[in-house]
């Protein structure tokens, strides 16, 4: 009888892997950092003495790039689980490249702002854009390094779908989606504020 109760009690326990859970919480906490930045921006903007400038149009392109990269990333995962080794590898490489293109475009954006006379040490309206986009780029670089790890797995280990590899790949995919989502949040906010 006692054993029966034990089993009943354990019904409905969450089955999510602890590492995935840790990743989600970690992302929540990174998110808070950006929430702090953006709230500071909004509060500061409301106080006046705020330099208006044209938000660099190049960020529109970087937005498209990162959204596409999320799709290719998902495609790579899909291909991995469905046994299509070629697409798995190809899409993974594409994602890594798109990630780097994104960083490059961000850099171009900063150059464009600089050329317009918006400097890091000028009016906070510009400083905020630099600081927030750079912090985001830092997180994205972390994402790219996890993709590089995934690429090493893809090319060094023989292709095989095991629960363990699936799990690890998922961690990479989820984090990438997070930095993508983070950018969308920031981008929408920038569009509203500038």
């Amino acid at each position: 009888m006692a054993t029966a109760t034990v089993e009943n009690i354990n019904k409905g326990r969450s089955k999510i892997h602890p590492q995935k859970f840790a990743l989600i919480i970690g992302c929540a906490s990174m998110m808070m950092m950006f929430v702090a930045f953006t709230s500071a921006l909004i509060v500061r903007q409301a106080q006046g003495n705020w330099l208006e400038f044209n938000f660099p149009s190049i960020f529109n392109y970087s937005t498209i790039v990162i959204v596409v990269s999320s799709l290719t990333m998902h495609g790579a995962y899909f291909a991995f689980t469905r046994g299509s080794e070629f697409f798995y590898k190809a899409l993974l490489i594409t994602t890594a490249i798109l990630g780097m293109v994104f960083i490059y475009l961000q850099y171009q954006g900063w150059l464009e702002m600089n050329a317009d006379g918006i400097f890091l040490d000028g009016n906070p309206s510009g400083s905020f854009v630099y600081v927030i986009t750079a912090s985001h780029a830092g997180h994205l670089l972390a994402g790219i390094s996890t993709i590089i790890m995934a690429l090493l797995h893809a090319f060094i280990l023989p292709y095989k779908v095991t629960p363990r590899r699936k799990h690890r790949f998922q961690l990479v995919v989820w984090f990438w989606h997070f930095v993508d989502f983070l950018w969308l949040y920031l981008f929408v906010l920038f569009l509203a504020a500038y």
Binding site: A2, T3, T5, V6, I9, N10, R13, S14, I16, H17, P18, Q19, F21, A22, I25, G26, A28, S29, M30, M32, M33, F34, V35, A36, F37, S39, A40, V43, R44, Q47, N49, W50, L51, L120, D121, G122, N123, P124, S127, V131, S135
Partner: protein, 622 residues
């Protein structure tokens, strides 16, 4: 009770057999994972991944910092209580910070006074009461009370300690800078903190302060991720959320608050660093130093205050919630009664956690925030008193009519309740923005937060140490010394902080080096002397505690039973000196909630004991 007499024949269960029969086998000891980390001295005692060892590392590091932080307060209390006395005798320790004149009279440098106050606050708030308290007990108890072999990620756990350690190293080194450590207050408000030329400590001292804080936050985040994940994923069979001890609820919610609020501090400090190093103007605007204007234009120092207190207020609950959890557990065990209102306790923890995020501006009533917005914060601040009162009521109701064993642990638990009431009441004064006009930045605030947070959290920590020392070291601490420690500290702490309310109401501002130039405050010098003497005595009593602690590690009375307090939670089902993996064989499963004390005439019923026949009738009857 009499009517249940016939059905309460308590069945005797042997715990070993219970674990054998009902426990489940996770094949932990079949593979020898982990053992390679345990075999050598370095990996056993230093780079340990065992949560029990990491807990002790946090505790002892916290103690080290408590001694440093405490000694600092004695030095600045000497300055406040006996400003005319010579401090030349401190010259060998403090060196250049004491200037000795021709007559041989030594005086404390004013800059160093500020540095001491700042370091005292930073060290006690972050290193002692955050890392030393929640780091120690979350690590020790989360796996043990939940029936887990270890944390979800022992490696991250180890990193968490070492980031804390490195933060400490950086802060410690900053004490030896020729320009001194940071001296702009533990809250590090700009412009003092943002301009290296603002004061001696604002240069290298502030750089190291901010670096240390970032390392510290990393430690908190790594620890927190682990605590949350462990609580949600690694509970043993039968340990539903509603069967978790209140300690675990408290650590769990604390970790969530930490994960949501500390990143905000990082953002705030990051912008501060940029203002200092790269010339941005987030917090600085139109400042003149030495007659010439600085380049910084367009910043707002209030912005920093918002970011800081968005962490700062939740931080005070990060400190107090673990203490509350510990006290709930300790009071219930030592009063031999179930905790009163278990669910209400959990919901009030959750309510406090939620409210703690929407009251931060009560620290800024006098910073020029819009009075209309202040009202919003007044209301939510005062609402916090409701869940706080619920908890206080429940603790008292738990004690009421209990068969209380006045052990040192229990006394500190009761002392905690007393302190929390006294300090919470003054919070209600401060929470009214109109009254705060008079009280802000006076000794009233100092009295409020030292009683409600400083002393109360220390009491919670002491309750925990006395209670779980047997689990940590397999020995008992000396009870007599423990009781002397308690009564002395209780009386002494009130002696220190009670009078501060009066001088605070009279308007004496905090953080002043000397009141020589203020005729209005001259008659407080006796009070100041009294406070200083009390502080010295209280510090001496803490030394007594340390002696008791370290003596007992090696020479305390050895445990002869696994469960010295007759408590029902899982940690007491492990062997006296639990090895790696905590349980030698199977993991026990949980059959009931953690507070079955005095049920149907049973002194206690362990969480691993299955429900018995008589209980069903008993539960219906009650």
């Amino acid at each position: 009770m009499a009517d249940t007499g016939t059905i309460t024949a308590p069945q005797k269960y042997n715990e070993e057999t219970l674990i054998e029969e009902l426990g489940y086998d996770d094949h932990f000891h079949d593979h020898h994972h982990g053992d390679k980390y345990q075999s050598s001295f370095i990996f056993h005692y230093i780079f340990s991944m065992d949560h029990k060892m990491i807990a002790r590392q946090f505790l002892i590091t916290g103690m080290f910092w408590a001694v440093i932080g405490g000694l600092m307060s004695l030095v600045f209390r000497l300055q406040l209580g006996f400003p005319e006395e010579s401090m030349a005798w401190l010259k060998p320790i403090l060196g250049g910070w004491i200037t000795v004149n021709e007559a041989g009279i030594g005086t404390l440098a004013p800059e160093f006074y500020y540095a001491l106050v700042t370091m005292h606050g930073t060290i006690i708030v972050f290193f002692v009461l955050t890392a030393g308290l929640s780091g120690t007990f979350s690590n020790l108890l989360i796996p043990l009370q939940l029936g887990a072999r270890d944390m979800a990620s022992p490696f991250l756990n180890m990193l968490s300690y070492w980031f804390f350690f490195s933060a400490g190293v950086v802060m410690f080194l900053s004490l030896f800078l020729s320009t001194g450590p940071f001296s702009g207050g533990w809250t590090a408000y700009p412009p003092l903190s943002a301009l290296p030329q603002a004061s001696t400590g604002s240069g290298a001292g502030m750089t190291m302060w901010s670096f240390s804080m970032v390392l510290f936050v990393v430690s908190v985040l790594l620890g927190g991720i682990n605590y949350i994940t462990t609580v949600l994923n690694l509970r043993t069979k039968g340990m539903s959320l509603w069967r978790m001890p209140l300690t675990i609820w408290a650590f769990f919610v604390t970790a969530i608050i930490g994960l949501l609020s500390f990143p905000v501090l990082v953002s705030g400090i990051l912008l501060l660093i940029l203002d200092r190093e790269l010339g941005t103007s987030f917090y600085l605007s139109e400042i003149f130093i030495g007659g010439s204007a600085l380049d910084h234009v367009g910043g707002s120092p209030i912005l920093y205050q918002h970011l800081f207190w968005f962490l700062g207020h939740p931080e005070v609950y990060i400190i107090i919630l673990p203490a509350m959890g510990i006290v709930s557990e300790v009071l219930s065990v030592h009063a031999r009664k179930p905790i009163f209102g278990y669910k209400a306790m959990v919901y009030s923890i959750l309510a406090i956690a939620f409210l703690s995020f929407i009251v931060w501006a009560h620290h800024m009533f006098m910073s020029g925030v819009n009075p209309f917005i202040s009202n919003f914060f007044v209301i939510f601040t005062l609402i916090i008193a409701v869940p706080s009162a619920v908890k206080v009521f429940n603790w008292i109701a738990t004690l009421f009519g209990g068969n209380i064993r006045f052990t040192a642990a229990c006394l500190f638990g009761i002392g905690f309740v007393s302190m929390f009431i006294s300090g919470g009441l003054t919070g209600i004064f401060l929470g009214n923005s109109a009254i705060d006009v008079q009280l802000h930045d006076t000794y009233f605030v100092v009295a409020h937060f030292h009683i409600v947070m400083g002393i109360a959290a220390f009491f919670g920590m002491y309750a925990g140490v006395y209670h779980w020392f047997p689990k940590m070291y397999g020995r008992l601490m000396n009870e007599t010394l423990g009781r002397i420690h308690f009564w002395g500290t209780l009386v002494g702490a009130y002696a220190i902080f009670w009078p501060m309310h009066y001088i605070g109401m009279a308007g004496v501002p905090r953080r002043y080096y000397s009141f020589d130039n203020f005729q209005a405050f001259a008659h407080f010098d006796m009070i100041n002397k009294f406070i200083t003497v009390a502080a010295i005595i209280v510090f001496a009593l803490q030394v007594l505690f340390l002696i008791n602690f370290f003596y007992s590690i090696w020479n305390g009375k050895k445990l002869t039973t696994k469960n010295p307090w007759k408590a029902s939670t899982l940690e007491w089902t492990t062997p006296i000196n639990p090895g790696h993996g905590n349980w030698p064989g199977r993991i026990p499963t949980v059959q009931r909630w953690p507070y079955d004390y005095g049920k149907g005439g049973n002194d206690y019923i362990s969480q691993i004991t299955p429900e018995q026949e008589w209980e069903r009738e008993y539960d219906e009857a009650h």
